[in-house]
């Protein structure tokens, strides 16, 4: 048993401050355990979002000692406890209260992405090696930590012309689905704002699912957009022959 000191943000839209709490910790405790202990014993109205407490739902994202993380997967013995541990809400989204933020924007921006559009009359045969990449993207638990650290959203608040790493990953999961036939390249170029991303990889660093957001999702999408809109040779051929996306589900050179 050991006492640890916390500074937890308390407040709402009108303002707030870090408040001091002391928590009795036992072996193996995570940050969320400490927050729940504060809630149960000291501050019953301390607002905090959580669900599964096992890293599967992505509800409890916060900034612990300045680092965006899932509170349920952050062990107290893995962070610096020599000074009081600070816990703040995700900065990029409007504050509701204390550690909860309004993440509605993510659900709205998601509607810009054309839904899954399978080829008609497909036999639904897909090889494992052809879906490995898509499955990597589908591991996303929508914790929105990548959105939180993306400087386009965090520092420049560009939420109208940019959909952010989470939704770029979702777009990639559809674009690279072996049986999908829709094209989302125009969306990516325009209202998706993929050009805003300058590949600083902050999103990849905070992803609790270890999705290679930048390397495997965003960069290949950027290449597709470039091929589609900026490659002079390809665009000449496309004007001649059309540019429909692989209707038979097979990959073509132009896609890579």
């Amino acid at each position: 048993m050991q006492n640890l000191n916390f500074k937890v943000f308390r407040g709402d839209k009108s303002g707030g401050e870090l408040k001091d709490y002391t928590v009795v910790v036992e072996e193996g405790m995570v940050v969320l355990d400490a927050i729940q202990q504060i809630q149960a014993e000291q501050a019953p109205d301390l607002a905090c979002r959580w669900n599964c407490k096992a890293g599967k739902c992505g509800s409890c994202g916060a900034e612990v000692n300045g680092k965006p993380t899932l509170m349920c997967m952050t062990r107290l013995d893995s962070i610096d406890t020599s000074k009081p541990i600070t816990v703040r809400p995700m900065k990029t989204f409007p504050l509701i209260r204390d550690l909860t933020t309004d993440v509605q924007w993510n659900y709205e921006a998601n509607k810009k992405i054309k839904p899954f559009t399978p080829a008609p009359n497909t036999d639904w045969i897909m090889m494992q090696e052809d879906v490995d990449r898509v499955q990597e993207f589908r591991k996303c638990i929508e914790c929105f930590l990548c959105q939180n650290v993306c400087h386009v959203l965090r520092d420049h608040d560009e939420k109208t012309g940019f959909i952010g790493p989470r939704l770029l990953v979702r777009t990639a999961s559809l674009e690279m689905h072996p049986l999908d036939t829709a094209s989302r390249l125009e969306m990516l170029k325009n209202e998706g704002g993929i050009g805003f991303c300058n590949i600083t990889k902050c999103c990849t660093e905070v992803c609790p699912e270890h999705i290679h957001i930048t390397d495997n999702a965003i960069i290949p999408l950027k290449e597709r957009v470039v091929d589609e809109y900026y490659d002079p040779v390809l665009s000449f051929f496309r004007r001649l022959f059309g540019s429909k996306k692989r209707p038979d589900g097979s990959r073509s050179a132009a896609d890579d």
Binding site: L46, A47, N51, A54, F116, M127
Partner: protein, 609 residues
């Protein structure tokens, strides 16, 4: 006077897990105006935590598999208390519902020839679970969420339903509040579908998320809906037991499906000593035979680690009680010595991650320590097997909140496909009901105002009890007195405790504002949790035998009389709960022949399955 906002829908779906989303999609496709209410954000419901897979007799892994084998396995695993018609509907439709998910964008793991792969699980005669590594629930909920957005759902996220609203004995809507603002909301609806999931949070050690407070059972019971078989609670054999903060977090049965074995502290695979009479002959009797099975020999029988969950959970409990447990009071689950590290990381990635992060343990190198954790309730709101209608007009239930499909014990993997099969059925039936003339009732403003005043009471009790402390007391006493092993004296003690908790739950205190206030939310949750705990304990007292997820120390064996009875938990007009025993619905002879075959050979000889 407190104001409220009113919404009008044909069908209101309460809950946005697998069953709720599938129901909403079905009702929208029928042309209904549909509202979906969820306590969490979209995509975070407890379904997201499901790991191992969804059972459906696709016949991809083994062409011999079909709905009849699945039917027989489900009834056998359920101690034959299942509603046979629900089991038939379920096993016949599960495969189509899985294929539909693929057409909506789900990407399941593949067989070598490019079809949906299937894995082994306890109680299933063949590899039957479509899966995505060990994150199948995430795949299911995300696919349904995306498809629901595509067909245009109206989602009220982070909204709690406080009470159902009735008129003339029919459900006509619900009163709730927005957790983010504290504002009250009235939903007028011609039909209401409960898809609120389970009640694991009434126990101290559980795999369930905070949402699983049993709301739907209590809401339904309060408006006169019958509950069925509430004594049957599934304690999943393998939850994490160390460190203390993660006690109860699920370790997927997929670990055993992929070849993992259970050992006691002496290194013995104790499941060989725990094969119940009714499963004799279906499981490997030596480690050599089990090894052959793992190596792919189709003549070899399955290892006993793949027995049904109630059997495995009690076997672990026995090892611990008899002094052969692991250091923290559980058993060892070993996949490290069975499969190569890369294979484990590919097939069980979130287990690898979970143990690495939370327990500093590498499951590719060391065995895990596991023990039973409250995981699921087989009982629930009693429904019609075809329409999921309750006995209250306008009220439907689907998914874990509905009872009947799983009998006394649920097979792993049967839950996710339950959600989509009966979610779809409930959505269709509710939409049809809502479209019929005369199904519209009036919401009473007086009823609404009375409930609102009641819901706000904790704010005017500054001297009241701390709701978190009360919740802790409920959970620890339920664990102690109505847990995995039960006996009459403890159950009676628990009834007294619940009677007192019921009064104290009305006297809790909330401080601060109504904006996202967990103390206030807990004060409201605890009232329903006490109600539903009482139903569990009463039903457990009444069943004087041991069967499936109900084990009595004072009645350790199955009993022939109780083998023919379901328990109906009914509320009288004065609010008191009582338990009524009812004979099982009559199973037609041709179905009985399928259900009662001894083994698969007999099944194929006798009924051509």
């Amino acid at each position: 006077m407190e104001s409220y906002t009113t919404y009008d829908y044909d069908v209101l779906v309460i809950g946005a897990g697998g069953a709720g989303l599938r129901a909403a999609i079905a009702a929208i496709e029928k042309g209904a105006r549909v509202g979906v209410v969820s306590k969490s954000l979209l995509g975070k419901a407890h379904t997201v935590m499901a790991e191992g897979g969804m059972a459906a007799a696709l016949g991809n892994a083994r062409p011999e598999d079909n709905w009849k084998v699945h039917f027989r396995d489900t009834l056998k695993g359920g101690g034959m208390l299942n509603n046979w018609k629900m089991v038939e509907n379920y096993t016949r439709e599960a495969a189509e519902r899985v294929l539909e998910l693929e057409r909506w964008g789900a990407v399941f793991d593949r067989t070598p020839d490019g079809r949906i792969n299937q894995r082994n699980f306890g109680g299933h005669s063949y590899p039957r679970l479509a899966h995505v590594g060990d994150r199948t629930g995430l795949e299911l909920i995300r696919t349904l969420q995306d498809h629901a957005v595509k067909v245009g759902i109206n989602a009220h996220m982070e909204t709690t339903i406080y009470r159902l609203l009735t008129e003339g004995g029919a459900v006509v809507g619900a009163l709730g509040f927005d957790r983010q603002t504290g504002e009250f909301l009235v939903f007028r609806a011609r039909a209401v579908i409960l898809a609120t999931g389970g009640l694991g949070r009434i126990y101290q050690i559980t795999s369930n998320s905070w949402e699983c407070t049993g709301d739907g059972f209590a809401l339904a019971s309060m408006v006169g809906a019958d509950l069925i078989d509430m004594e049957f609670i599934q304690f999943h054999p393998t939850g994490m037991i160390w460190p203390p903060g993660v006690m109860g977090v699920l370790v997927t049965e997929g670990v055993r499906g992929e070849g993992g074995v259970l050992k006691n502290r002496e290194g013995r695979r104790f499941m060989f000593d725990n094969v119940p009479e009714r499963y004799k002959g279906e499981f490997a009797e030596t480690e050599e035979e089990a090894e052959k099975w793992l190596g792919g020999d189709r003549e070899a029988r399955r290892p006993p680690e793949l027995l049904v969950r109630d059997v495995v959970a009690r076997a672990i409990r026995r090892e611990v009680n008899e002094g052969r447990g692991s250091p923290h009071g559980g058993a060892y689950l070993d996949i490290a010595s069975r499969r190569p590290a890369d294979y484990i990381k590919k097939k069980l990635p979130s287990m690898y991650h979970q143990f690495m992060k939370l327990a500093n343990l590498d499951i590719t190198k060391e065995p895990m320590e596991v023990g039973p954790t409250c995981h699921y309730v087989m009982g629930g709101v009693r429904v019609d097997p075809d329409t999921q209608a309750t006995n209250v007009p306008g009220l439907y239930a689907a998914g874990e909140v509905a009872g009947g499909l799983h009998g006394a014990n649920r097979l792993g993997g049967n839950s996710l496909s339950d959600l989509v099969v009966f979610g779809q059925r409930a959505g269709l039936a509710a939409a049809e009901y809502a479209a019929a003339p005369g199904s519209s009732g009036m919401v009473s403003d007086a009823q609404v105002r009375e409930y609102i005043a009641e819901a706000l009471e904790p704010f005017s009790n500054p001297q009241g009890e701390n709701p978190f402390a009360l919740m802790k007391e409920l959970r620890s006493t339920m664990q102690q007195n109505a847990g995995i092993m039960r006996e009459e004296s403890e159950l009676k003690t628990q009834l007294d405790i619940l009677a007192s908790l019921k009064q104290r739950a009305k006297q809790t205190s909330a401080t601060g504002t109504r904006v996202y206030n967990p103390g206030w939310h807990t004060a409201i949750d605890i009232q329903l949790m006490v109600e539903i705990s009482e139903a569990v304990v009463l039903a457990a007292l009444a069943r004087k035998e041991s069967r499936g997820g109900h084990a009595r120390l004072d009645y350790p064996d199955p009993d022939a009389t109780f083998a023919r009875l379901n328990h109906i938990i009914r509320r009288s007009s004065d609010g008191a709960l009582s338990v009524v025993a009812e004979p099982l619905p009559e199973m037609p002879e041709d179905r009985r022949r399928i259900a009662e075959v001894k083994d698969l050979k007999e099944l194929s000889d006798k009924v051509g399955a």
